[in-house]
Subunit: 330 residues, 2 copies
Amino acid sequence: MDLIPLAISLGDPAGIGPEIAAKAWAARAVQNLPPFFAVGDTRAIEAVWRGPMVRISDPSQAQEAFANALPVLEIENSGAISPGKPNLEGARNALEALELTVGLARAGRAGGVVTAPVSKAQLYAIGFTHPGQTEFIAERCGVSCENVVMMLAGGNLRVVPVTIHVPLAKVADLITADLIIAKARATVRGLQRCFGIDQPRLAVAGLNPHAGESGALGEEEIMIIAPAIAALAAEGFDVVGPVPPDALFTRRAIETYDAAICMYHDQALIPVKALYFDEGVNITLGLPIIRTSPDHGTAFDIAGQDKADPSAMIAAIRMAASAAHFRACA
Amino acid sequence: MDLIPLAISLGDPAGIGPEIAAKAWAARAVQNLPPFFAVGDTRAIEAVWRGPMVRISDPSQAQEAFANALPVLEIENSGAISPGKPNLEGARNALEALELTVGLARAGRAGGVVTAPVSKAQLYAIGFTHPGQTEFIAERCGVSCENVVMMLAGGNLRVVPVTIHVPLAKVADLITADLIIAKARATVRGLQRCFGIDQPRLAVAGLNPHAGESGALGEEEIMIIAPAIAALAAEGFDVVGPVPPDALFTRRAIETYDAAICMYHDQALIPVKALYFDEGVNITLGLPIIRTSPDHGTAFDIAGQDKADPSAMIAAIRMAASAAHFRACA
């Protein structure tokens, strides 16, 4: 079955999103990438790339156009385009591109969504009230954030942060057994549906140093995390923990599970980026659509200098296509 | 100048400490290790190792004995010895060994201290009120914990957690500009004195996801960490930050600094163990003595099965010797 072309939202026009999307297209043959089209401001691409580009007015034109040029569904942007120099018009443009892309996927007119990086600071400045793109997409898909899972994947490591874009000081108050259970269930379903893993093995991290050292360094493991794990095991899940956080990401440990359920953003992202920086992919599980994203930021500091590495974008495109394949087979 | 033999406290007698100390001795020629002697219960070694061992009554006998047998300064232990099964007598024995070892180093009768792992849960059960061995050693050396730095090193990565053995929920309240400054100063002095780095480059991590995203995800970067960095820069230190925590440990990022100042235990230890599990060393800076330790736990689950890997212990012995060398030259 042919894959419906994927839609790539270009993210902040002043970031590296336009460049890595274009470079991914240029690498389509070598990397054997499925058809995709970009959604955003064509000027942002022209500012950083000299390859062939074709404006499409409808996603149905993407499949044919893809062979010879990067297809772009234009989102008009009234602001100035200057790589590395974000502005509020660019943030609005990025948000519109994201919204349209998600809508196309929901309508079955895109096979999945790959989102290039946005600047959260810029989005907040235009009144964006979601913590990040993931939460926005969940709302647009009518799914509660609790049931949506942000999974980061690189190499053979997959991690799921239970809390995400919140201050570290608030993490302990936000962790509940119900939340851990909801995220673990969504992770298992996602690994089954999007990765073709029949019996996913989960490892759940502790919150505190040494997983609380029997309560001496924190009680969340005893009061919250261990009961959640027991409940999941009682449901028949293959799950271990709470594992001391610093023991969960050694090369040997990584081999023992299909996904690590982590308590907070950096517990999950530090190891993925340390081990697999150039190929880290963010995939959102629990949505009615497929959504992946390269696991890096806007990189304003190198935008427009032809320095951006498209590896993570390419990995994100490939993972979206693979997930679409498994979903179609399921 | 000949190095005074190093003293290795064997840690919990039921853990892997005795085994890795013995295996390090067995590898002394291949690994070109400096002379050392063990401090602890000889029965704990006999239970897991069949090589030659010699009881010494004074550290001065270690140098000569080291060539043909593992020298051991005995700490009597009234309890049962069973690898993998810790008991309270074992915890008392580990604590006595640690105390004697530190005393010998302070008296100049040991060239430095290498501490094998203890069980904090066991130590707490016998009334130990320090968060970990590091804090105990600091007190025994008459140094305020604030001025002592626990540095973890593996490969070319060195990390310093500003807070250590505290629940994650308390970290934000414990971080102060003064504390960061004190740890950074001690780190710089330690890198100069024990590693021979004249102009150490420091990178300071943020506390929150994305280093707070301009305040949207936490204000500690703005209120506490950035001012500490500015103060350090004003003192002439080579220091950057606050760096988003998940961006600080990519392979490229690691090349740009000599030590990363981290806000909490797992922010520092997750990347070291993910990248360099088998060779991670803990070195305490800011003490009047040299102290290193393999960066792993008691591993009760594999104790007594000849499975323990001595690589980190060997790296800890080597780092202690190297630090002693740089100190002697300074």
